[in-house]
């Protein structure tokens, strides 16, 4: 019996990552954009874990833990900033956050 080959995990990870990038670029709601970034980081985690499993090492798993920690810290800081933005503005649509330009 063969297990699922490494390439499948990597393709899945790349697809999830690309979805995250697309979400970041095309979505217009702050929270959704933020979720897209989380999706990207989790795609990265998947590829780290797949490599670590294939290489029979723990380094990649450790890296995945650090990525999770960073994602959590980023979410804490990010949601706080989004809240302060929301306090001074009527909505969370990025197009309306446009005080700073030229």
């Amino acid at each position: 019996m063969d297990s699922v080959p490494l390439s499948w995990y990597l393709i899945l990870s790349a697809v999830l990552f690309a979805l995250g990038v697309a979400g970041f670029l095309f979505r217009r709601n702050l929270i959704t954009i933020f979720m897209s970034i989380e999706l990207m980081l989790n795609a990265v985690n998947l590829s780290f874990i797949a490599f670590a499993y294939k290489l029979n090492q723990v380094d990649g798993q450790i890296f995945a833990f650090f990525v999770m920690v960073v994602a959590a810290a980023e979410a804490a800081v990010g949601l706080a900033i989004i809240l302060t933005v929301f306090k001074s503005r009527p909505s969370l649509a990025v197009d309306e956050v446009n005080t700073l330009k030229y």
Binding site: M40, L41, V44, F51, F63, F66, S88, V97
Partner: protein
């Protein structure tokens, strides 16, 4: 299995421990010891103490390297490396943090947001910078970068009640998080290639493959995009003007200098380490990025009326110049990068400090018109600003000239004549927009405005940056030797 935490490990980690310890101490003492807002300015002394201990740790490392004649000390099985390179950058970080801290307290009082955690965040951000300059492992570099970036997201949004500050923090956060996501994807591919997170192992794995290998290219491209975002090189610069304009000016100065120097340290570790052998693949990309940075930075700066925004575009063009040193890639070019970063740190910091001085009660003082007739009102500030602007434009006898000189020399040595000509052309453009500020200061009629705030901290910081900007220009020899030590690797 080797010993878990050896004395060497400790020796290498001491500066980072001190920064983290004092950073956390500021947060705790702010809460328990100084509940009154009036007392908070005392917290700046914790920062000074932290910097003294950090500097002592760095000094001992430097003395040890010199006395043993070693090129480097590695710790934690090759995770951290103290060498001339890391020490060079860490001394810049110490100087920049101190200079930013001594001007901050009056500025934050005027803004009405004087909180202790500001100093804690400076120390913790500097801790992240320490790991960026010292780390030789993908995990360490990633954590260092995020530690620095997270502190900066909060500091940029420090003026909670201001729409501009919020918005700047949000834009910086979203683009910063996006770029580190891209970068860490590149790291995962590098890990997959090498089976290790050590830069040396990654370098060996990449060297064993063709420079145009698609997997190597994927790792290189995603990592490069992430790193270039951090140094705000075009076309990945969109966050910089907004973040610089919206952030409190002292934070802008720290962001423009500290964060940029740390990101360049990181960029050099990555591009001259694991990616060195993939140079044929990344060189054309970096040429494109450098040319775009020079073009967008210099051309967009022409129309700016806000000094902070103008300096943001100018810092984008400076990133372009520094990248040219990496493109040349010979010893002169790398030395030129180090000199340029040193010079850039002090002249940019100085220019932002003058903008800090212009902030008074009821007057934001960020527009070029606010500088009108500064020569008649406060000649000292006007002359200092003139020195910084001459240096930013790269006119002798100021420091900026020395930085540009080595970059141009390296480009000519490696026969990049077209790039050198283009870079020289943009110096002329830069002179035009810097002299808009000069004209406003020296020729325009003075407008009625309250006198400039001048504190001891501001005067000391301006004196240090002003003297260094002139000293490096007039007598560059010791600074060049300093930059040379950063290359012995």
């Amino acid at each position: 299995m080797s010993q878990f935490y050896t004395s060497t490990d400790h020796f290498v980690l001491v500066p980072a421990i001190m920064l983290a310890l004092f950073g956390c101490a500021v947060l705790l003492f702010d809460f328990f010891l100084f509940p009154e807002p009036r007392q908070r300015k005392r917290l700046v002394w914790f920062l000074f103490a932290g910097e003294i201990f950090t500097a002592a740790g760095l000094w001992r490392q430097q003395a040890f390297l010199a006395s043993e004649g070693l090129p480097e000390i590695t710790a934690f099985q090759g995770t951290l490396t103290v060498d001339g390179f890391s020490l060079f950058f860490n001394w810049i970080f110490v100087a920049v943090s101190l200079l930013v801290a001594i001007v901050s307290w009056r500025y934050l009082e005027i803004e009405g947001e004087h909180h202790g955690e500001y100093y804690g965040l400076i120390l913790l951000a500097q801790c992240g910078m320490y790991f960026l300059a010292t780390g030789t492992d993908l995990i360490t570099l990633f954590i260092g970068l995020e530690l620095m970036a997270l502190c900066f997201y909060v500091m940029v949004g420090f003026l909670r009640e201001r729409k501009r500050s919020n918005e700047a923090a949000m834009k910086y956060l979203l683009l910063g998080a996006f770029s580190s996501g891209l970068m860490v994807y590149g790291f995962s591919v590098m890990y997959g290639l090498a089976g290790s997170t050590k830069l040396r192992a990654v370098a060996a794995a990449i060297a064993s493959r063709d420079a145009w290998d698609p997997v190597v290219f994927l790792a290189m491209a995603t990592t490069a995009v992430g790193v270039l975002f951090k140094v705000s090189a075009a076309p990945f610069h969109m966050w910089a003007p907004d973040a610089y304009e919206g952030a409190p000016t002292t934070v802008t100065a720290f962001l423009a200098v500290g964060s940029k120097a740390a990101s360049f340290a990181f960029l050099m570790r990555i591009f001259l380490g694991p990616l060195e052998t993939a140079r044929p693949a990344w060189e054309p990309l970096l040429v494109l990025v450098a040319v775009l940075s020079l073009t967008i930075g210099n051309l967009a700066a022409i129309t700016q009326n806000n000094v902070k925004r103008l300096l943001a575009y100018s810092s984008i063009s400076h990133a372009g110049y520094i990248l040219l040193g990496l493109i040349a890639g010979n010893a002169t070019g790398l030395k030129g990068m180090a000199v340029y970063i040193l010079v850039y740190a002090f002249m940019t910091l100085g220019a932002f400090l003058v903008v800090v001085a212009l902030r008074r009660e009821n007057l934001i003082g960020e527009d070029i018109e606010d500088m009108a007739g500064l020569m008649h009102r406060s000649p000292g500030y006007a002359v200092l600003m003139l020195i910084f602007l001459l240096s930013l434009a790269g006119i002798p006898p100021t420091a900026g000239f020395i930085g540009k000189y080595y970059i141009f020399l390296a480009l000519l040595e490696t026969s990049h004549y077209l790039l050198a000509a283009l870079a020289a052309l943009y110096v002329a453009v830069a002179i035009y927009y810097y002299f808009r500020i000069v004209r406003s200061m020296f020729i325009s009629e003075a407008v009625a405005a309250p006198p400039l705030e001048s504190t001891v901290g501001l005067r000391v910081a301006l004196a240090v940056t002003g003297v260094l900007t002139l000293a490096i220009g007039v007598y560059p020899e010791p600074f060049l030797r300093l930059a040379q030590t950063s290359l012995v690797r």
